[in-house]
């Protein structure tokens, strides 16, 4: 709500107010006029800004454990296999019971499973798995080894531009003992050498 300037306005307009210096009177009048103009403009602008900045006050929706697959469905070959991440998701007003929200690469060696985010840490493109177990980003010049670490040079001899290796995702160890691959699905800031959750 705008502030009240009634007392000042009255003083400026009342015919019984003591005669002031014209300059001072003018100054008060001009200040009151600008304050009123500010209050009037602030009314719609405040309401609008509250709504526009609403996303800043909403909690992050990522960082949920998601069942990706059964370990029996994952080939025990030490190579990356791409899986969709399907989960319940609320998109503003729409509630999706099951919707694909992203992709992960799972790599199984015996009883251990690693999960790598499919998003390139450089700018967020989805990386492709090459036949030999390495990864290549289709957008800019970035390649990664089978364990997700950066390959300094691409097959074409260009310097990899990604600032860090592929992001590893946490795997629920207890679920893995039950034969289920449950991944803590997260997204990370791109373009940083450090891995920081969004």
């Amino acid at each position: 709500m705008p502030e009240s300037h009634d007392s000042q306005a009255d003083a400026a307009h009342s015919p019984h107010a003591p005669v002031e210096q014209p300059n001072r009177r003018q100054f008060v009048k001009k200040s009151v006029a600008l304050a009123i103009a500010g209050a009037a403009v602030a009314t719609p602008v405040t309401a609008g800004l509250l709504v526009v900045t609403d996303p800043l006050r909403k909690p992050a929706s990522l960082g949920m454990p998601v069942l990706i697959t059964a370990i029996s469905a994952l080939p025990n070959d030490g190579k990356p296999h791409r899986f969709p991440v399907v989960m319940e998701k609320t998109d503003a007003w729409t509630k999706h019971d099951r919707v694909a929200v992203g992709q992960v690469y799972l790599i199984r060696k015996g009883d251990t499973v690693r999960a790598l985010s499919a998003e390139c840490p450089h700018a967020g493109c989805k990386v492709d798995a090459l036949g030999d177990g390495a990864f290549a980003c289709p957008c800019h010049d970035s390649e990664f080894a089978a364990d997700g670490s950066i390959k300094p040079l691409t097959r074409g001899g260009k310097r990899t531009v990604s600032p860090r290796g592929l992001d590893e995702l946490q795997i629920d160890a207890d679920a893995l003992k039950r034969g289920e691959v449950v991944v803590l699905f997260q997204k990370f800031q791109t373009g940083n050498a450090q891995k920081k959750a969004l």
Binding site: M1, K30, I36, T43, P44, L50, V51, D54, W93, H96
Partner: protein, 620 residues
Amino acid sequence: MNALISWLDHRTRIPTLLHELLFEQIPGGPRWRYAWGSTVLFAFFMQLVTGFCMWMNYSPSATTAWESVYYIQHQMTGGAILRGLHHYTAQIFVVLLALHTGQMVIDGAYRAPREFRFWITLLMLNLAVFLSVTGWALPWDQRGFYGSFIPTNLMLLAPGIGPVVRKIVIGGTEYGGHHTLTRFFSLHVGLLPLLMITCFVLRMALARKHGRHWVDHPRRAAAPFWPDQFLRNVAACLVVALLALFLTFRVRLLNGGAIGVPLMAPADSSQPYSAARPEPVFIWLFQMLKEFPGHREVIGAIVIPGAAMTLLALMPFIGRWKLGRGFNIAFVGACGIAILVLGGKALWADWHDEDYRNALARAESDGRRAVQLAEQRGIPPAGAITLVRDDPVLQGPRLFAQNCASCHRYDGHDGLGNRKSETPTAADLKGFATRQWLDGLFDKDKVASPHYFGGTAFKDGEMVQFVQTTVAGYDDEKRQRLENIKQALVADANLPGQVYDEAKLARVAAGRAALKTKAARCINCHIYDGAGDIEHDGPDLTAYGSRRWTIDFISNAAHERFYGTCNDRMPLYGQKKLLTQRQIELIVDWLRDPMGQHDTTEQPPPQATQPTTQPATRPN
């Protein structure tokens, strides 16, 4: 600083123009009446700001419009205020613009060389109407849907181009699809505001060319615009902002209701909306339609508004005649009076129309329920309408009014709150199978009233006689047995939200046992839990009033489990496919839980695990 200003002035002339505007001499000094124009401009500025911020969150399609507006209003900070400001300022804008036009006529501000300024103002008035009509539809609730639907139908009355323009504007023959919204939306946020801004700019440019129209005050000295006139103008603008704020918060301030404009249930062209009215600013147009019934509708919808607008446009020429200016003033005065009279008549009629007020109250409660469903369940991708169509609280009363209320009543009305003059011919089903309902059934003064068997073929039947003679003569011991039986029946009905303690469960168990005894005489006519004659006349009382029992009863009341060949006039809704299984469930779930406070899934009926000694468990 001065160097910067002079550089800016040399390149753009902006400082000089600002100086000219601020220090323009006003002959006769500052006046409050000169503030009108700036309030119109300010109201439009408010619409641009609030409108843009809603645009950032709005999605125009038949499955996302209501949903995104619901999200703005109920899930975003300040959303209800934002939408309220936009909604009410829209109406303030129309009023200010109309009053400003009237002021121009009274001042003769249309005279040469200012004709174009006047015509542009008239054009803005028309643009404001189109902005209003396209804006109403966007929330896609029942109110907005019908509010814009009717004006688009009026377009059909315009000869020749009407149907063509209508088809283009609503994106097809039928109002109400995705393209109605996408087209209304692009007109509302694109073309129409752009034309309006152009009008404002042209008006200002013309004002600079011809000079403003000042009403000279010979006894007062001229004064510059800044600061005295500026102060008056911004004070008037602040009044506009405060008025919009007050209207937005008025329900909250006056009776503690919600902030902003209530969002009604999602648009549904298959459902009637008996509270359809235009926004208050245009209520006089609505009344004018009612003044010209039948094929004369075109007179009220098109001929009169068109003629009035034409006459307004001709005012610069009429004003040249000797009596012309007087005529013009008289004409806008007459228009103003006609608008007030028609609007007043419409509001007066609505105020005294119980059906309308009932419909409006129902529309608002439907809207609150739709919002509640969206909040509790989340909106599925197919839209909020799917929640509404499958909700017992919203659909139960409608189905009851359509299918049951010709014989039954619900708390004396038809389920939707409409009182009926004719006497009911079947029971009033409010609270069916509750303790209170059964108390009435076993009351000798009530059992033969229209509330129970009064209107039916069983008016003088065995049950009524039993209650009026046998039960009326019960001693204390038998009365206690009957109380236990009622308690058992209520427990079997298993209405949601009941709580049982140990003592109550003991009475339930005693009642269940008593029901099966010859002494209580129930099983002379009814069956209860295996006891009783197969050749019974009365309905099977096993699980009486439970969700399953009631659904089965409505499906086929003439089943041998219920009235058999004695069935009076109860249609066999399921058997004869008069209603679907789901529709019957919606009616039953609503009867059992009118406010929708509980889960509708069936729970086992309350039961003491061992009749007397075990501690009671809570059902549900």
